[in-house]
Protein backbone atom coordinates (compact mmCIF):
# COMPACT_ATOMS: atom_id res chain seq x y z
CA UNK A 1 0.00 0.00 0.00
CA UNK A 2 1.51 3.29 -1.02
CA UNK A 3 -0.78 5.57 0.92
CA UNK A 4 0.92 6.03 4.25
CA UNK A 5 1.50 9.74 4.67
CA UNK A 6 2.80 9.47 8.18
CA UNK A 7 5.82 7.47 7.11
CA UNK A 8 6.85 9.47 4.10
CA UNK A 9 8.64 7.95 1.19
CA UNK A 10 11.99 8.08 -0.52
CA UNK A 11 12.60 10.65 -3.15
CA UNK A 12 15.00 8.61 -5.20
CA UNK A 13 16.23 11.64 -7.08
CA UNK A 14 17.46 13.38 -3.97
CA UNK A 15 18.84 10.19 -2.52
CA UNK A 16 20.95 9.39 -5.56
CA UNK A 17 22.13 12.98 -5.70
CA UNK A 18 23.22 12.78 -2.08
CA UNK A 19 24.94 9.47 -2.72
CA UNK A 20 26.73 10.93 -5.71
CA UNK A 21 27.90 13.92 -3.69
CA UNK A 22 29.21 11.68 -0.97
CA UNK A 23 31.06 9.52 -3.46
CA UNK A 24 32.65 12.47 -5.22
CA UNK A 25 33.38 14.60 -2.18
CA UNK A 26 36.94 13.31 -1.57
CA UNK A 27 37.93 14.70 -4.94
CA UNK A 28 37.39 18.26 -3.74
CA UNK A 29 38.19 18.20 -0.07
CA UNK A 30 39.93 16.36 2.71
CA UNK A 31 37.98 13.54 4.30
CA UNK A 32 38.82 13.92 7.98
CA UNK A 33 36.02 16.33 8.84
CA UNK A 34 33.37 14.83 6.54
CA UNK A 35 34.00 11.41 8.09
CA UNK A 36 33.29 12.77 11.54
CA UNK A 37 30.17 14.52 10.31
CA UNK A 38 28.92 11.30 8.73
CA UNK A 39 29.48 9.45 11.97
CA UNK A 40 27.55 12.05 13.91
CA UNK A 41 24.80 11.94 11.32
CA UNK A 42 24.51 8.19 11.74
CA UNK A 43 24.34 8.58 15.50
CA UNK A 44 21.68 11.27 15.22
CA UNK A 45 19.71 9.18 12.76
CA UNK A 46 19.60 6.31 15.23
CA UNK A 47 18.04 8.50 17.89
CA UNK A 48 15.85 10.38 15.44
CA UNK A 49 14.26 7.21 14.17
CA UNK A 50 13.34 6.02 17.62
CA UNK A 51 12.19 9.39 18.89
CA UNK A 52 10.51 10.78 15.81
CA UNK A 53 8.73 7.70 14.57
CA UNK A 54 8.21 5.54 17.62
CA UNK A 55 7.93 8.36 20.11
CA UNK A 56 10.60 7.01 22.44
CA UNK A 57 12.93 9.63 23.84
CA UNK A 58 16.15 8.30 25.26
CA UNK A 59 18.05 10.96 27.17
CA UNK A 60 21.11 8.77 27.33
CA UNK A 61 21.55 7.46 23.80
CA UNK A 62 25.23 8.28 24.18
CA UNK A 63 25.44 5.10 26.23
CA UNK A 64 25.16 2.95 23.09
CA UNK A 65 27.48 5.17 21.12
CA UNK A 66 30.09 4.66 23.80
CA UNK A 67 29.35 0.96 24.19
CA UNK A 68 29.87 0.42 20.49
CA UNK A 69 33.18 2.25 20.58
CA UNK A 70 34.49 0.50 23.67
CA UNK A 71 33.30 -2.90 22.42
CA UNK A 72 35.20 -2.42 19.20
CA UNK A 73 38.36 -1.26 20.95
CA UNK A 74 38.36 -4.05 23.51
CA UNK A 75 37.45 -6.73 21.01
CA UNK A 76 39.98 -5.72 18.38
CA UNK A 77 42.76 -5.58 20.96
CA UNK A 78 41.93 -9.12 21.90
CA UNK A 79 41.19 -10.60 18.50
CA UNK A 80 43.51 -8.69 16.23
CA UNK A 81 41.23 -8.68 13.22
CA UNK A 82 38.46 -6.14 12.87
CA UNK A 83 35.49 -7.96 11.34
CA UNK A 84 34.19 -9.64 14.46
CA UNK A 85 34.75 -6.55 16.62
CA UNK A 86 32.74 -4.54 14.13
CA UNK A 87 29.86 -6.97 14.44
CA UNK A 88 30.17 -7.02 18.20
CA UNK A 89 29.94 -3.25 18.29
CA UNK A 90 26.42 -3.64 16.96
CA UNK A 91 25.45 -6.63 19.00
CA UNK A 92 26.60 -5.57 22.46
CA UNK A 93 24.76 -2.23 22.53
CA UNK A 94 21.69 -3.92 21.09
CA UNK A 95 21.74 -6.58 23.78
CA UNK A 96 22.16 -4.05 26.58
CA UNK A 97 19.39 -1.90 25.13
CA UNK A 98 17.13 -4.93 24.80
CA UNK A 99 17.65 -5.73 28.48
CA UNK A 100 17.08 -2.20 29.67
CA UNK A 101 14.25 -1.68 27.22
CA UNK A 102 12.45 -4.81 28.28
CA UNK A 103 12.80 -3.77 31.89
CA UNK A 104 11.28 -0.38 31.13
CA UNK A 105 8.63 -1.20 28.58
CA UNK A 106 7.26 -4.36 30.10
CA UNK A 107 7.05 -2.36 33.30
CA UNK A 108 4.90 0.24 31.53
CA UNK A 109 7.29 3.05 32.38
CA UNK A 110 6.09 6.38 31.04
CA UNK A 111 8.06 8.82 28.89
CA UNK A 112 9.41 11.01 31.66
CA UNK A 113 10.71 8.09 33.65
CA UNK A 114 12.16 6.55 30.54
CA UNK A 115 14.08 9.79 30.13
CA UNK A 116 15.37 9.55 33.67
CA UNK A 117 16.32 5.89 33.49
CA UNK A 118 18.11 6.21 30.18
CA UNK A 119 19.99 9.23 31.48
CA UNK A 120 21.02 7.36 34.61
CA UNK A 121 22.24 4.41 32.54
CA UNK A 122 24.63 6.54 30.56
CA UNK A 123 25.79 8.22 33.77
CA UNK A 124 26.51 4.85 35.32
CA UNK A 125 28.61 3.89 32.33
CA UNK A 126 30.40 7.23 32.43
CA UNK A 127 31.26 6.95 36.11
CA UNK A 128 32.25 3.35 35.82
CA UNK A 129 34.50 3.80 32.82
CA UNK A 130 36.08 6.92 34.30
CA UNK A 131 37.13 4.99 37.35
CA UNK A 132 38.79 2.04 35.65
CA UNK A 133 42.33 3.33 35.68
CA UNK A 134 45.17 1.01 36.41
CA UNK A 135 46.25 -2.44 35.37
CA UNK A 136 43.63 -4.16 37.46
CA UNK A 137 40.89 -3.11 35.10
CA UNK A 138 41.16 -4.93 31.84
CA UNK A 139 39.22 -7.25 29.62
CA UNK A 140 41.58 -9.77 28.12
CA UNK A 141 44.41 -7.83 26.56
CA UNK A 142 42.65 -4.47 26.74
CA UNK A 143 43.26 -2.13 29.65
CA UNK A 144 40.20 0.02 30.22
CA UNK A 145 42.28 3.06 31.00
CA UNK A 146 39.87 4.94 33.22
CA UNK A 147 39.41 8.57 32.44
CA UNK A 148 41.98 8.49 29.68
CA UNK A 149 40.29 5.74 27.80
CA UNK A 150 41.79 3.20 25.43
CA UNK A 151 44.22 4.38 22.78
CA UNK A 152 46.26 2.62 20.15
CA UNK A 153 44.11 -0.25 18.97
CA UNK A 154 44.13 -1.57 15.41
CA UNK A 155 41.69 0.17 13.14
CA UNK A 156 39.46 -1.43 10.53
CA UNK A 157 41.06 -3.80 8.10
CA UNK A 158 39.75 -5.54 5.03
CA UNK A 159 37.67 -8.50 6.25
CA UNK A 160 39.93 -11.51 6.52
CA UNK A 161 43.09 -9.61 5.72
CA UNK A 162 44.48 -8.08 8.91
CA UNK A 163 47.35 -6.46 7.05
CA UNK A 164 45.25 -4.41 4.70
CA UNK A 165 44.25 -1.35 6.68
CA UNK A 166 41.17 0.62 5.77
CA UNK A 167 42.21 3.70 7.65
CA UNK A 168 41.78 7.13 6.07
CA UNK A 169 39.83 7.43 2.83
CA UNK A 170 38.42 3.88 2.85
CA UNK A 171 36.98 4.61 6.27
CA UNK A 172 35.29 7.66 4.85
CA UNK A 173 33.60 5.48 2.25
CA UNK A 174 32.63 2.97 4.89
CA UNK A 175 30.96 5.73 6.91
CA UNK A 176 29.19 7.09 3.86
CA UNK A 177 27.95 3.61 2.98
CA UNK A 178 26.84 3.05 6.55
CA UNK A 179 24.81 6.23 6.55
CA UNK A 180 23.21 5.63 3.16
CA UNK A 181 22.39 2.02 3.96
CA UNK A 182 20.99 2.94 7.36
CA UNK A 183 18.78 5.52 5.76
CA UNK A 184 17.49 2.92 3.32
CA UNK A 185 17.00 0.47 6.15
CA UNK A 186 14.82 2.86 8.13
CA UNK A 187 12.84 3.72 5.03
CA UNK A 188 12.25 0.03 4.43
CA UNK A 189 11.22 -0.52 8.03
CA UNK A 190 8.79 2.37 7.87
CA UNK A 191 7.16 0.79 4.83
CA UNK A 192 6.69 -2.53 6.57
CA UNK A 193 4.21 -3.42 9.27
CA UNK A 194 6.82 -3.07 11.99
CA UNK A 195 7.43 0.58 11.20
CA UNK A 196 3.76 1.35 10.77
CA UNK A 197 2.84 -0.18 14.09
CA UNK A 198 5.60 1.89 15.68
CA UNK A 199 4.08 5.04 14.26
CA UNK A 200 0.73 3.91 15.58
CA UNK A 201 2.30 3.42 19.00
CA UNK A 202 3.69 6.92 18.87
CA UNK A 203 0.25 8.26 18.06
CA UNK A 204 -1.76 6.28 20.58
CA UNK A 205 -0.09 3.52 22.52
CA UNK A 206 -3.25 2.41 24.29
CA UNK A 207 -5.12 2.00 21.06
CA UNK A 208 -2.38 -0.18 19.60
CA UNK A 209 -2.58 -2.31 22.70
CA UNK A 210 -6.33 -2.45 22.19
CA UNK A 211 -5.75 -3.64 18.65
CA UNK A 212 -3.86 -6.62 19.98
CA UNK A 213 -0.31 -5.48 19.35
CA UNK A 214 2.26 -6.31 22.00
CA UNK A 215 3.42 -2.75 22.44
CA UNK A 216 6.21 -3.53 24.89
CA UNK A 217 7.78 -5.96 22.43
CA UNK A 218 7.72 -3.43 19.61
CA UNK A 219 9.28 -0.74 21.76
CA UNK A 220 12.01 -3.07 22.95
CA UNK A 221 12.68 -4.04 19.37
CA UNK A 222 13.12 -0.51 18.05
CA UNK A 223 15.16 0.45 21.09
CA UNK A 224 17.58 -2.41 20.44
CA UNK A 225 17.78 -1.64 16.72
CA UNK A 226 18.43 2.01 17.41
CA UNK A 227 21.12 1.09 19.92
CA UNK A 228 22.79 -1.16 17.35
CA UNK A 229 22.96 1.74 14.92
CA UNK A 230 24.34 4.04 17.60
CA UNK A 231 26.86 1.33 18.39
CA UNK A 232 27.93 1.20 14.76
CA UNK A 233 28.41 4.96 14.83
CA UNK A 234 30.49 4.53 17.97
CA UNK A 235 32.62 1.87 16.34
CA UNK A 236 33.24 4.09 13.34
CA UNK A 237 34.09 6.94 15.69
CA UNK A 238 36.60 4.70 17.40
CA UNK A 239 38.19 4.19 14.03
CA UNK A 240 38.23 7.86 13.26
CA UNK A 241 39.53 9.14 16.59
CA UNK A 242 41.85 6.19 17.30
CA UNK A 243 40.96 6.55 20.96
CA UNK A 244 37.86 5.85 23.00
CA UNK A 245 37.18 7.75 26.19
CA UNK A 246 34.46 7.84 28.84
CA UNK A 247 33.41 11.25 27.50
CA UNK A 248 31.52 9.32 24.85
CA UNK A 249 29.11 8.30 27.62
CA UNK A 250 29.00 11.76 29.11
CA UNK A 251 26.20 14.26 29.61
CA UNK A 252 27.70 16.51 26.98
CA UNK A 253 27.59 13.92 24.25
CA UNK A 254 24.13 12.85 25.34
CA UNK A 255 22.89 16.42 25.15
CA UNK A 256 24.51 17.08 21.81
CA UNK A 257 22.90 14.25 19.91
CA UNK A 258 19.53 15.21 21.35
CA UNK A 259 20.01 18.77 20.22
CA UNK A 260 21.02 17.67 16.73
CA UNK A 261 17.86 15.62 16.41
CA UNK A 262 15.44 18.11 17.78
CA UNK A 263 16.90 21.07 15.92
CA UNK A 264 17.06 19.08 12.73
CA UNK A 265 13.55 17.82 13.05
CA UNK A 266 11.45 15.18 14.72
CA UNK A 267 9.48 12.87 12.55
CA UNK A 268 11.73 13.12 9.52
CA UNK A 269 14.78 11.06 8.61
CA UNK A 270 16.66 13.87 6.94
CA UNK A 271 16.17 16.22 9.90
CA UNK A 272 18.51 14.48 12.34
CA UNK A 273 21.08 14.00 9.59
CA UNK A 274 21.07 17.68 8.68
CA UNK A 275 21.01 18.71 12.32
CA UNK A 276 24.08 16.65 13.06
CA UNK A 277 25.99 17.80 10.00
CA UNK A 278 25.22 21.50 10.37
CA UNK A 279 25.57 21.75 14.13
CA UNK A 280 28.53 19.42 14.12
CA UNK A 281 30.28 21.61 11.60
CA UNK A 282 29.44 24.72 13.60
CA UNK A 283 30.91 23.06 16.67
CA UNK A 284 34.12 22.27 14.81
CA UNK A 285 34.38 25.85 13.59
CA UNK A 286 33.64 27.23 17.05
CA UNK A 287 36.19 24.87 18.55
CA UNK A 288 38.84 26.73 16.64
CA UNK A 289 38.23 29.94 18.51
CA UNK A 290 37.87 30.60 22.20
CA UNK A 291 35.70 33.69 22.26
CA UNK A 292 32.25 32.15 22.31
CA UNK A 293 31.83 28.91 24.10
CA UNK A 294 30.16 26.11 22.16
CA UNK A 295 27.88 25.42 25.11
CA UNK A 296 26.45 28.87 24.93
CA UNK A 297 25.46 28.58 21.30
CA UNK A 298 24.06 25.06 21.64
CA UNK A 299 22.17 25.99 24.77
CA UNK A 300 20.63 29.09 23.28
CA UNK A 301 19.77 27.17 20.14
CA UNK A 302 18.05 24.38 22.03
CA UNK A 303 15.98 26.84 24.05
CA UNK A 304 15.01 28.70 20.91
CA UNK A 305 14.00 25.59 19.04
CA UNK A 306 11.93 24.22 21.90
CA UNK A 307 10.09 27.49 22.29
CA UNK A 308 9.65 28.42 18.65
CA UNK A 309 9.78 25.21 16.65
CA UNK A 310 9.09 22.30 18.96
CA UNK A 311 9.20 19.76 16.18
CA UNK A 312 12.46 21.05 14.83
CA UNK A 313 13.71 23.17 11.99
CA UNK A 314 13.00 20.87 9.06
CA UNK A 315 9.31 20.32 9.82
CA UNK A 316 8.86 24.03 10.48
CA UNK A 317 10.46 24.79 7.14
CA UNK A 318 8.24 22.19 5.50
CA UNK A 319 5.15 23.85 6.91
CA UNK A 320 6.32 27.22 5.67
CA UNK A 321 7.21 25.76 2.29
CA UNK A 322 3.85 24.05 2.12
CA UNK A 323 1.95 27.25 2.80
CA UNK A 324 4.02 29.19 0.28
CA UNK A 325 3.20 26.65 -2.39
CA UNK A 326 -0.47 26.72 -1.49
CA UNK A 327 -0.59 30.47 -1.78
CA UNK A 328 1.24 30.35 -5.09
CA UNK A 329 -1.21 27.82 -6.46
CA UNK A 330 -4.20 29.79 -5.27
CA UNK A 331 -2.86 32.89 -6.93
CA UNK A 332 -2.24 31.12 -10.22
CA UNK A 333 -5.81 29.93 -10.09
CA UNK A 334 -5.10 26.23 -10.12
CA UNK A 335 -7.79 24.14 -8.51
CA UNK A 336 -7.86 20.64 -7.25
CA UNK A 337 -5.22 20.95 -4.59
CA UNK A 338 -6.93 20.03 -1.40
CA UNK A 339 -5.94 22.27 1.46
CA UNK A 340 -3.98 20.25 3.89
CA UNK A 341 -5.48 20.97 7.25
CA UNK A 342 -3.61 18.49 9.29
CA UNK A 343 -0.68 19.37 11.44
CA UNK A 344 1.28 16.21 10.77
CA UNK A 345 4.58 17.21 9.25
CA UNK A 346 5.05 16.42 5.60
CA UNK A 347 7.31 13.42 5.85
CA UNK A 348 8.66 13.59 2.40
CA UNK A 349 12.33 12.94 2.51
Amino acid sequence: MTDWPSAGRIRWGWFLLAAAILVLLPLVTETLTPTLLLIWALFALSLGMMWGFAGLLSFGHAAYFGLGAYTYAIAVLNIGESTVPLLLSLIVPAAVAAAIGAMMFYGRISDVYMGVITLVVTLILFKFMSATAGDAYKIGAARLGGFNGIPGYPTLNAPGFPDISLFGMPTYYICAAALLLSYLLWRWILARSFGRVLIGIRENEMRCELLGYNVAAYKTGIFALSAAMAGLAGCLFANWAEIVTPAMFGLSQAAEVLIWVIVGGLGTLIGPILGAVVLGYVKILLGQQTLIDNSLILGALLIFVVLAMPRGVVPALQLVWGSIRRRARARSGRHGTRRRLGVSPAERV
Binding site: M1, D3, W4, P5, S6, S193, R196, V197, I199, G200, E203, N204, M206, R207, C208, E209, L210, L211, G212, Y213, N214, V215, L341, G342, V343, S344
Partner: protein, 240 residues
Protein backbone atom coordinates in the same frame (compact mmCIF):
# COMPACT_ATOMS: atom_id res chain seq x y z
CA UNK B 1 -26.27 -21.29 23.82
CA UNK B 2 -23.04 -21.19 25.78
CA UNK B 3 -21.74 -18.60 28.14
CA UNK B 4 -18.92 -16.68 26.60
CA UNK B 5 -18.11 -14.22 29.37
CA UNK B 6 -18.46 -14.56 33.09
CA UNK B 7 -17.08 -12.90 36.15
CA UNK B 8 -16.92 -14.53 39.57
CA UNK B 9 -16.74 -12.24 42.55
CA UNK B 10 -15.07 -9.45 40.60
CA UNK B 11 -13.94 -6.79 43.03
CA UNK B 12 -11.85 -3.69 42.49
CA UNK B 13 -10.74 -1.30 45.19
CA UNK B 14 -9.05 2.06 44.96
CA UNK B 15 -7.68 2.90 48.34
CA UNK B 16 -10.73 2.78 50.56
CA UNK B 17 -13.29 2.98 47.77
CA UNK B 18 -14.84 -0.24 46.51
CA UNK B 19 -15.60 0.57 42.90
CA UNK B 20 -16.70 -2.90 41.86
CA UNK B 21 -18.19 -5.02 44.58
CA UNK B 22 -18.19 -8.77 44.19
CA UNK B 23 -19.90 -8.82 40.81
CA UNK B 24 -21.08 -12.07 39.26
CA UNK B 25 -21.89 -11.34 35.65
CA UNK B 26 -22.49 -13.59 32.71
CA UNK B 27 -23.11 -13.13 29.02
CA UNK B 28 -24.35 -15.66 26.48
CA UNK B 29 -23.16 -16.25 22.96
CA UNK B 30 -24.45 -13.62 20.54
CA UNK B 31 -26.24 -11.80 23.30
CA UNK B 32 -26.61 -8.04 23.31
CA UNK B 33 -26.43 -6.52 26.77
CA UNK B 34 -26.56 -2.95 27.98
CA UNK B 35 -24.84 -1.88 31.16
CA UNK B 36 -26.36 1.21 32.68
CA UNK B 37 -26.21 3.04 35.96
CA UNK B 38 -25.60 6.52 37.26
CA UNK B 39 -22.18 8.13 37.41
CA UNK B 40 -19.84 6.41 39.78
CA UNK B 41 -21.87 3.21 39.75
CA UNK B 42 -18.83 1.25 38.69
CA UNK B 43 -19.74 0.42 35.10
CA UNK B 44 -16.58 1.89 33.61
CA UNK B 45 -14.39 0.31 36.24
CA UNK B 46 -16.07 -3.03 35.59
CA UNK B 47 -15.50 -2.51 31.91
CA UNK B 48 -11.81 -1.77 32.42
CA UNK B 49 -11.45 -4.92 34.51
CA UNK B 50 -12.80 -6.93 31.60
CA UNK B 51 -10.44 -5.32 29.14
CA UNK B 52 -7.29 -5.73 31.17
CA UNK B 53 -6.83 -1.99 31.50
CA UNK B 54 -6.86 -2.49 35.24
CA UNK B 55 -4.42 -5.26 36.01
CA UNK B 56 -6.11 -8.03 37.93
CA UNK B 57 -4.78 -10.57 40.30
CA UNK B 58 -6.67 -13.47 41.78
CA UNK B 59 -7.58 -11.34 44.78
CA UNK B 60 -9.88 -9.44 42.45
CA UNK B 61 -11.98 -12.44 41.57
CA UNK B 62 -12.05 -14.17 38.24
CA UNK B 63 -12.90 -13.33 34.67
CA UNK B 64 -13.56 -16.12 32.22
CA UNK B 65 -13.82 -15.72 28.48
CA UNK B 66 -15.13 -18.78 26.66
CA UNK B 67 -14.32 -20.84 29.69
CA UNK B 68 -10.69 -19.72 29.82
CA UNK B 69 -9.48 -17.85 32.89
CA UNK B 70 -8.20 -14.52 31.62
CA UNK B 71 -7.76 -12.90 35.01
CA UNK B 72 -4.52 -10.95 34.96
CA UNK B 73 -4.08 -11.15 31.20
CA UNK B 74 -2.59 -8.15 29.45
CA UNK B 75 -4.93 -6.10 27.30
CA UNK B 76 -3.35 -7.16 24.05
CA UNK B 77 -3.65 -10.82 25.01
CA UNK B 78 -7.34 -10.41 25.73
CA UNK B 79 -7.84 -8.61 22.43
CA UNK B 80 -5.98 -11.36 20.62
CA UNK B 81 -8.38 -13.93 21.93
CA UNK B 82 -11.05 -12.23 19.85
CA UNK B 83 -12.34 -9.33 21.90
CA UNK B 84 -12.92 -5.90 20.41
CA UNK B 85 -12.84 -2.87 22.66
CA UNK B 86 -14.03 0.67 22.18
CA UNK B 87 -13.12 2.94 25.04
CA UNK B 88 -15.03 5.76 26.67
CA UNK B 89 -12.78 8.51 25.38
CA UNK B 90 -12.36 7.86 21.68
CA UNK B 91 -9.04 6.12 21.36
CA UNK B 92 -7.87 6.49 17.82
CA UNK B 93 -4.63 7.59 16.26
CA UNK B 94 -5.35 11.25 15.71
CA UNK B 95 -2.27 12.13 13.72
CA UNK B 96 -2.92 9.43 11.14
CA UNK B 97 -5.53 9.22 8.42
CA UNK B 98 -8.68 7.16 8.69
CA UNK B 99 -7.20 4.79 6.16
CA UNK B 100 -4.03 4.32 8.20
CA UNK B 101 -6.03 3.69 11.34
CA UNK B 102 -8.19 1.08 9.69
CA UNK B 103 -5.27 -0.58 7.96
CA UNK B 104 -3.31 -0.97 11.19
CA UNK B 105 -6.30 -2.59 12.78
CA UNK B 106 -6.95 -4.82 9.80
CA UNK B 107 -3.33 -5.84 9.37
CA UNK B 108 -3.13 -7.95 12.50
CA UNK B 109 -5.95 -10.24 11.50
CA UNK B 110 -5.94 -10.13 7.74
CA UNK B 111 -2.23 -9.95 7.08
CA UNK B 112 -0.44 -7.60 4.73
CA UNK B 113 -2.34 -8.56 1.61
CA UNK B 114 -5.79 -8.92 3.07
CA UNK B 115 -5.67 -5.74 5.10
CA UNK B 116 -6.47 -3.36 2.30
CA UNK B 117 -9.55 -5.24 1.23
CA UNK B 118 -10.83 -5.60 4.76
CA UNK B 119 -10.21 -1.92 5.36
CA UNK B 120 -12.18 -0.88 2.29
CA UNK B 121 -15.01 -3.23 3.21
CA UNK B 122 -15.46 -1.78 6.69
CA UNK B 123 -15.12 1.76 5.38
CA UNK B 124 -17.99 1.07 3.00
CA UNK B 125 -20.13 -0.48 5.66
CA UNK B 126 -19.73 2.45 8.02
CA UNK B 127 -19.89 5.13 5.33
CA UNK B 128 -16.35 6.26 5.99
CA UNK B 129 -15.34 6.06 2.35
CA UNK B 130 -15.16 9.83 1.81
CA UNK B 131 -13.11 10.31 4.93
CA UNK B 132 -10.37 7.83 4.22
CA UNK B 133 -7.67 10.36 3.44
CA UNK B 134 -8.59 12.74 6.21
CA UNK B 135 -6.64 12.96 9.42
CA UNK B 136 -8.70 11.53 12.22
CA UNK B 137 -7.85 14.48 14.42
CA UNK B 138 -9.79 16.80 12.10
CA UNK B 139 -13.01 14.82 12.18
CA UNK B 140 -16.05 15.56 14.28
CA UNK B 141 -16.48 13.67 17.52
CA UNK B 142 -19.19 11.49 16.06
CA UNK B 143 -17.09 10.66 13.01
CA UNK B 144 -14.18 9.76 15.23
CA UNK B 145 -16.39 7.43 17.22
CA UNK B 146 -17.40 5.76 13.98
CA UNK B 147 -13.77 5.35 12.98
CA UNK B 148 -13.08 3.75 16.30
CA UNK B 149 -15.95 1.37 15.80
CA UNK B 150 -14.50 0.61 12.41
CA UNK B 151 -11.11 -0.31 13.76
CA UNK B 152 -12.72 -2.52 16.37
CA UNK B 153 -14.93 -4.33 13.89
CA UNK B 154 -12.37 -4.89 11.17
CA UNK B 155 -10.67 -7.35 13.49
CA UNK B 156 -13.82 -9.53 13.41
CA UNK B 157 -14.12 -9.99 17.15
CA UNK B 158 -16.70 -12.39 18.55
CA UNK B 159 -17.10 -10.29 21.70
CA UNK B 160 -17.39 -6.56 21.39
CA UNK B 161 -17.22 -4.15 24.31
CA UNK B 162 -18.49 -0.66 23.56
CA UNK B 163 -18.09 2.07 26.16
CA UNK B 164 -20.44 4.97 25.43
CA UNK B 165 -20.51 4.52 21.66
CA UNK B 166 -23.31 7.04 21.14
CA UNK B 167 -21.62 9.92 22.94
CA UNK B 168 -21.42 13.04 20.81
CA UNK B 169 -23.29 11.54 17.89
CA UNK B 170 -26.05 13.26 15.94
CA UNK B 171 -29.48 11.68 15.56
CA UNK B 172 -28.62 10.25 12.17
CA UNK B 173 -25.38 8.85 13.40
CA UNK B 174 -27.13 7.21 16.35
CA UNK B 175 -29.56 5.52 13.99
CA UNK B 176 -26.72 4.26 11.88
CA UNK B 177 -24.98 3.12 15.06
CA UNK B 178 -27.97 1.08 16.13
CA UNK B 179 -27.94 -0.61 12.76
CA UNK B 180 -24.24 -1.30 13.18
CA UNK B 181 -24.69 -2.74 16.65
CA UNK B 182 -27.44 -5.05 15.42
CA UNK B 183 -25.28 -6.19 12.52
CA UNK B 184 -22.36 -6.90 14.84
CA UNK B 185 -24.73 -8.81 17.06
CA UNK B 186 -25.51 -11.23 14.25
CA UNK B 187 -22.08 -12.78 14.66
CA UNK B 188 -20.74 -11.47 17.97
CA UNK B 189 -21.79 -10.84 21.53
CA UNK B 190 -21.98 -7.19 22.44
CA UNK B 191 -21.83 -5.32 25.71
CA UNK B 192 -22.79 -1.66 25.50
CA UNK B 193 -22.14 0.70 28.37
CA UNK B 194 -24.01 3.94 28.01
CA UNK B 195 -25.78 6.79 29.76
CA UNK B 196 -28.10 7.63 26.90
CA UNK B 197 -31.36 6.01 27.99
CA UNK B 198 -33.03 6.64 24.66
CA UNK B 199 -30.25 4.79 22.92
CA UNK B 200 -30.55 1.92 25.39
CA UNK B 201 -34.29 1.83 24.96
CA UNK B 202 -33.95 1.66 21.18
CA UNK B 203 -31.51 -1.23 21.41
CA UNK B 204 -34.15 -3.19 23.27
CA UNK B 205 -31.83 -5.76 24.80
CA UNK B 206 -31.31 -7.31 28.19
CA UNK B 207 -30.16 -4.58 30.59
CA UNK B 208 -27.93 -4.81 33.66
CA UNK B 209 -28.16 -1.92 36.08
CA UNK B 210 -25.15 -1.10 38.21
CA UNK B 211 -25.38 0.78 41.47
CA UNK B 212 -22.58 1.44 43.93
CA UNK B 213 -20.37 -1.17 42.37
CA UNK B 214 -22.87 -4.01 42.35
CA UNK B 215 -25.60 -5.28 40.07
CA UNK B 216 -28.90 -3.83 41.20
CA UNK B 217 -31.26 -5.34 38.67
CA UNK B 218 -31.01 -7.33 35.48
CA UNK B 219 -33.71 -8.12 32.96
CA UNK B 220 -35.39 -7.21 29.67
CA UNK B 221 -35.09 -3.54 28.85
CA UNK B 222 -38.72 -2.42 29.08
CA UNK B 223 -39.07 -4.16 32.42
CA UNK B 224 -35.89 -2.81 33.93
CA UNK B 225 -36.31 0.73 32.71
CA UNK B 226 -39.73 0.93 34.34
CA UNK B 227 -38.56 -0.62 37.59
CA UNK B 228 -39.09 1.88 40.44
CA UNK B 229 -35.87 0.86 42.15
CA UNK B 230 -33.96 1.78 39.01
CA UNK B 231 -35.77 5.07 38.64
CA UNK B 232 -34.98 5.91 42.23
CA UNK B 233 -31.32 5.25 41.73
CA UNK B 234 -31.24 7.48 38.68
CA UNK B 235 -33.53 10.26 39.73
CA UNK B 236 -33.17 9.98 43.45
CA UNK B 237 -36.79 10.15 44.45
CA UNK B 238 -39.57 7.69 44.94
CA UNK B 239 -41.59 7.09 41.79
CA UNK B 240 -45.22 6.96 42.70
Amino acid sequence: MSTILETHGLTMRFGGVVAVNNVNFSLLERELRCLVGPNGAGKSTFFKCLTGQYPLSHENGRVLIRGADVTGWETYEIVRSGVGIKTQIPSVMNGLTVQENLWLAARRIHGWHGARGAMEEIADELHLGDLLRRNVGELSHGQRQMVEIGIVLVQRPWLVLLDEPAAGMTGNEVERLIGVVRRINLTASVIVVDHDMEFVRLLNSRVTVFHQGAILVEGPSDQVLADPAVLEVYIGSRAT
